[in-house]
Amino acid sequence: MNESPLHSFHVKLGARMVDFAGWSMPVMYRGIIEEHNHTRTKCSLFDVSHMGRLYLTGKDTEALLQLVCTRNVGDMSVGLSRYTHMCREDGGILDDVIVSRFEDQYLVVCNASNRQKITDWLSRHAAGKDVQMTDRTMETAMIALQGPEAIPQVEKLLNIDLSGLKRYHFQTGSYFTFKYAIFRSGYTGEDGVELILPAGIVKLAMPALMGMSNTDDAVIKPAGLGARDSLRLEAGMPLYGHELTEDWDSLTARQGWCVHLDKDFIGADAMREKKEKGLTQKIVGLKLEGRRTARQGFEVRANGETVGQVTSGVLSPTLGESLAMALVGMDHTKDGTQLSVQFGEKEVAATVVKIPFYKLSS
């Protein structure tokens, strides 16, 4: 089992640790709902060190990334990050990743569960090209600070000014002699940053981190994977293995905004054809009646007929409603469409609603 550099931090704070894609990671510390609400009102610290961090150099790197990414990543300036998918020839989604352009290299941050698959995929398509890939997942840590207080807190902690750092941009810096990269991004629907820093520093900084976050009135408190999931769901963000899988393509996953069919990439032909013929199904948002939580795999019906399945569900802590995402047939994707979700033999009424369910007012 892999352990994050913050492992002992989690254990000392009494986190419940779970096996997540071969990593021992905290699912919660104090309670998922409490951690969720703290993120929406203050600032939470998430250990996301399990995410894969692959660095690519060599003169063909840009061409390789253009070939494997659904989104145009060929015109990125230094300091820019882009969310994109990587797909198979038939459009099946291999992973959703964030590509960042540094001065002398590119960084691909992928899901923990797909790290080996993406490493293999990149290696395969890099064959014969001038591309060198280094996996720095184990030697670095990745921490997300998310919430309305995140930016001022990080500015104070690192003694930096983030007012010029726009969403999906990053900058590098050093704290004493430690080098880090700070990205204005996240997976919660809140403003915030994600930091990548050497594993050794995090271990050194741990006592300070603990002292800072281990009091009742702390502004920054740790939050686990449980809250991360409920936060991303409210924000309508897809999760690999749920809304994104090899079984369907990025357009079906409602992520067409990160698919640039005007360039060539692996999976483009399949998706062009899909677009021309018309999609057969699509991910939608659902609002369920009552307070039950729909789970992945629950059947979605229209007038008694099965028309799809739930991919994720949550009883929204922020909105107090039962929300879900589901893959349904195209005839049932319009906002306001009345559907139902099967809880065993029981049927619960559901309405198709817009995603995201929760949006930060800017």
Partner: protein
């Protein structure tokens, strides 16, 4: 963690409090903690009959849904209606106000195979 010694416990973390032939069933404090924040409890209709070992309800938490199993068969004579609006009672007071169903047992003998408080305490300790 408390394990009251006035009742029996199952492997699947239900508790059984016997009063005559009526058995009150709930889930243990240990189970409630494991499940994390409980958001909904689906309970059977009063009058419904179940065989021993059947799932009589469902417990939903932020993370997962799990069955409420009854080791005894019989007829449901009461359910805890308070849980409809306050499922958090299961987290706050699993062994008392968080009770779930009362079943009029057709046969109490399956309870003989369950654990007493000491054995259950060891089981989860």
């Amino acid at each position: 963690m408390s394990v009251p010694n006035d009742r029996k416990y199952s492997d699947s973390h239900e508790w059984y409090l016997v009063d005559g032939n009526v058995v009150t069933i709930g889930i243990t404090e240990f189970a409630a903690e494991e499940l994390t924040d409980i958001t909904y409890v689906e309970l059977p209709a009063v009058g419904k009959e179940f065989a021993a070992g059947a799932a009589v309800g469902e417990i939903e938490s932020v993370k997962a849904t799990s069955d409420l199993i009854s080791a005894i068969g019989g007829k449901v004579v009461a359910v805890n209606d308070e849980l409809a609006d306050h499922p958090e009672l299961v987290n706050d007071d699993a062994h008392n106000r968080g009770w779930m169903v009362k079943i009029e047992a057709s046969d109490l003998s399956p309870l003989d195979d369950l654990m007493d408080a000491a054995a259950y305490g060891e089981h989860v300790g």
